[in-house]
Assembly symmetry: C2
Homo-oligomer: 202 residues x 2
DNA sequence: ATCATGGTTGGCAGTCACTGCCAGGTTGGC
DNA sequence: GCCAACCTGGCAGTGACTGCCAACCATGAT
């Protein structure tokens, strides 16, 4: 997964940028390690900052909130989702477009193991899960016009229906990833996703 | 909505219970008032406690968390959902059962205005929304066996599919309530819900 | 090489939600 | 009236998060 090198590397990379990059990565890795070792709620910001060698203040400047420490590319996530869906053929159905978006997002993980670890953490920590869902709401809102444009404009309440469709896609992704984690990463998430979508639309 | 008096009132009502009831109601009303007046995030626990005439400590004993101050019957909500769904005829389909549950839950609000106010607050306050979603995750988990039992056991992955169906129902409720709030309470939420479900299953 | 500059960092104090603990006071059964 | 069960308020403490300020340092101009 993710064979692409970051294209921004070609841009005028100042030393500051590189330092930032380094620090950011260090923090992220430390956080993920501690989270998996001792759990999310049991890991304090102070501990992460200490072990990553930065101050709490700096940590909060890099990542605005504790939950941002999971899922490193929090904004990249939303961006990829948007881009992928808007790139779909105009005559592709709503479900195909959403499926493509989900697939692209899943592809963002560095490895199968990392994906499994993140999902495991996510689904086992209520507070984290809630925060994640909240972030997803923002994505859903952004996606709204994209999906609405692909819907049959005949009947009314496109807004509500588009929202429902988007949220349903995410719901299926959730169900799929939970099951995937429960099976310790056996099989493909996308297969589970497809099964879920089929069950809902059945 | 909610014509039923609480059946527990007949039980041996001690003075303590009555006092508790009173205090609880006072806190709840104060909280809802302040929330709507100045917003959820702008209202502190200290302020609610002060205006309700109790200590912070007591407030937290009544309601474990700030978000519990919205949606008075936080646990009643889940209970009603479970009860209603399990009361459905055994041969009722999954969608009918879920629909009955959603309808019952919506019926819990004291009035249309209260429902509108709560939904408005909920959808306009990110932090609140997150907490609400977290609570909902627990309901979904509780519902799982109930829904699983009503599904076709032929194919595999009932767990994933049941989860997807439940989450989809909630997603439709969300989409419906958001639209309802956006329309200032015009029309019926259940009609919107039905439209959303139809769009998803279409 | 030097210096001004602007982005960067760390520490400190403070806010807010929330919890454990302890000292009262009130209620209910006897 | 008395004791036990229960409730309340206050206090101190934790943990996430923010604003503020002084020190810092890569960078570009001189």
């Amino acid at each position: 997964m993710k064979q692409e090198a970051k294209p921004a590397t070609g841009a005028p990379t100042t030393l500051w940028d590189r330092t930032r990059q380094l620090a950011s990565q260090e923090i992220l890795e430390t956080a993920l390690r501690l989270f998996t070792e001792q759990g999310y709620d049991e890991t304090t910001i102070a501990q992460i900052a200490r072990e990553a060698g930065v101050s709490q203040r700096t940590l909060f400047r890099y990542f605005g909130a504790k939950e941002d420490l999971l899922g490193g590319g929090q904004d990249r996530f939303g961006q990829v989702l948007m881009d992928t869906i808007s790139e779909q053929h105009a005559d592709a159905g709503v479900w195909e477009a959403l499926r493509a978006g989900v697939a692209a997002v899943l592809d963002l993980h560095d490895s199968r193991e990392q994906a499994l670890e993140r999902f495991r953490l996510l689904h086992n920590t209520a507070s984290l899960h809630a925060g994640w869902l909240e972030k997803r709401l923002r994505f859903q809102e952004n996606l709204l016009p994209l999906i609405e444009a692909r819907m049959d404009p005949a009947a009314g309440n496109e807004g509500a229906k588009a929202r429902a469709l988007i949220a349903t896609a995410f719901a299926c992704l959730d169900a799929a990833s939970i099951t995937w984690v429960a099976n310790d990463g056996k099989g493909e998430i996308m297969d589970l996703y497809d099964e879920c979508v089929a069950a809902v639309r059945g």
